[in-house]
């Protein structure tokens, strides 16, 4: 799964920044479950279109909808650029 587009969505009042990512494939249940290795996964399979949210210890949050080819990532103010690079590199390799 590779990133095809990156868009800055907004700067938040708490200093964090939200980015939108588009991928060359959609989020499947399997791919969502793989996030468990990265942090705390909240998964809502009963919503009309299942929603997932991953909260990492370093404050990064990844949110998306199963079946979509995009997601939102919130980078906290602290080490924003480092965290962003880490996330983006993870999807270059896979």
């Amino acid at each position: 799964m590779k990133i095809t587009e990156i868009k800055k969505i907004e700067d938040c009042f708490d200093g964090s920044t939200v980015y939108g990512y588009t991928f060359d494939a959609v989020w499947t249940q399997d791919r969502i479950q793989q996030f468990r290795t990265l942090g705390n996964l909240d998964y809502f399979p009963d919503f009309p279109r299942p929603f997932f949210r991953v909260c990492q210890k370093n404050g990064v949050q990844i949110k998306g909808i199963q079946g979509d080819n995009n997601c939102r990532v919130i980078y906290p103010q602290k080490q924003k650029e480092v965290r962003k690079k880490e996330f983006e590199e993870a999807f270059m390799e896979s």
Partner: protein, 377 residues
């Protein structure tokens, strides 16, 4: 299926006849705006008459057509000749289209005193502080008729009566109230009222108006072409031309004329249905343990707007999930009204706002309610 619950931002769908009127205007050779064509009133006159009728204003020439409420408010702020000695009283319930122009005016006139009245936690304005502020020679009192965050309607009749007694000019921001609750210039002692066409009237964006009381003549801010009296060096001084310059947005005003026609026939029932849906929605939300309804307890007059937070969810996230998973369009954040959130306890992230119209259905309301319940489970 999309459920649209963001009518406080812009009323959708547009009223019956709006799209057709706009398309027809774009497809027809433009006639001279502002003129009476073929014995029948032109679109601009129809809009002025329609708005005047809606707000009980006897003279339609006192209705100035603008591109939106923000434009109308700016015309008012720059037109009332504020200066370094002025004292302006306003409230924390205001939208940035009131707050920002006022801060800009104060940058121009640093001596201007600006009193911003607080509200209590339920969103009620502090009348005691209002009375105290009125003792300090107020020039202008600006009040939001209805909060675009809580829907609460401010008791402007009473407040403006006091303001007039204290010798102030009065300006009402009716952006959220026009089309939702009755407005009468005969009852509200407003010198100026700013309206928008794209919310409660379900007209097109790019339309608004400013009511100017006959006792007041505003300074001209925009001057230029008017299509008539081209021989004059200065912009004509007669109303409404005095405050209207340049080619108007004819397709949108044709749409607004259609919206006003629709509203005349169906507006009252439409507004009532929106209020009923919103009230039932609010009451049901109050019974969901993890949901906090802002200003939910107060038994007051409101527009069909409900603001909430859900424990365990960021407001931005709720908006995202409702839109992407449930197909429900609402709005999240501060709603361009940055000061009210501190007062009602929704700072710093703001609220999730649901705003109904009479085009919404019972099923849509129930579906939205179910979605909130599932998030709050």
């Amino acid at each position: 299926m999309t459920i649209y619950l963001n009518n406080a931002a812009s009323g959708w769908p547009r009223a019956e006849g709006v799209c057709e009127a706009m398309t027809l205007t774009l497809q027809t050779p433009p006639f001279h705006p502002g003129r009476v064509a073929g014995g029948c009133a032109d679109v601009l006159t129809i809009c002025r008459r329609g708005i005047a009728e809606l707000v009980d204003a006897p003279d339609p020439t006192r209705i100035v057509l603008t591109t939106n409420a923000t434009h109308a408010l700016n015309l008012a702020f720059w037109g009332v000749k504020l200066n370094d000695h002025a004292h302006v009283i306003t409230t924390v319930t205001e939208h940035n289209s009131v707050l920002r122009p006022l801060h800009h005016v104060r940058e121009r006139f640093p001596g201007l005193r600006l009193t911003i009245l607080p509200t209590n936690a339920t969103g009620a304005l502090d009348e005691e502080q209002f009375d105290q502020a009125l003792e300090r020679e107020p020039t202008l009192v600006v009040i939001n008729h209805a909060s675009n965050v809580t829907g609460r309607v401010n008791e402007v009749e009473q407040l403006f009566q006091k303001a007039k007694k204290a010798g102030a000019m009065t300006l009402l921001d009716a952006s959220q109230s026009l089309g939702s609750i009755p407005i009468s210039v005969k009852k509200i002692q407003a010198d100026l009222i700013a309206f928008t066409g794209h919310k409660g009237l379900h007209g097109p964006a790019g339309t608004g108006a400013l009511y100017v009381n006959p006792s007041l003549e505003l300074e001209q801010v925009f001057v230029g072409g008017t299509g008539v009296r081209s021989d004059l060096m200065l912009h004509p001084a007669n109303m409404p031309m005095r405050l209207e310059a340049g080619t108007p947005n004819m397709p949108s005003f044709a749409g607004l004329a259609a919206a006003l026609r629709w509203y005349q026939k169906e507006g009252a029932a439409h507004a009532q249905k929106a209020t009923e849906l919103a009230n039932r929605f609010r009451e049901a939300l109050m019974n969901i343990p993890k949901v906090k309804v802002f200003d939910g307890t107060a038994k007051v007059c409101r527009t069909p707007v409900i603001s909430i937070q859900i424990a365990g969810w960021a407001v931005e996230e709720i908006g995202y999930v409702l839109a992407e998973s449930f197909g429900i369009i609402c709005r999240t954040g501060l709603h361009c009204a940055p000061l009210i959130h501190q007062a009602i306890g929704s700072a710093p992230e703001g609220t999730v706002r649901f705003s109904f119209s009479g085009f919404n259905t019972e099923l849509e309301m129930e579906t939205a309610l179910d979605a909130v319940r599932r998030l709050a489970a």
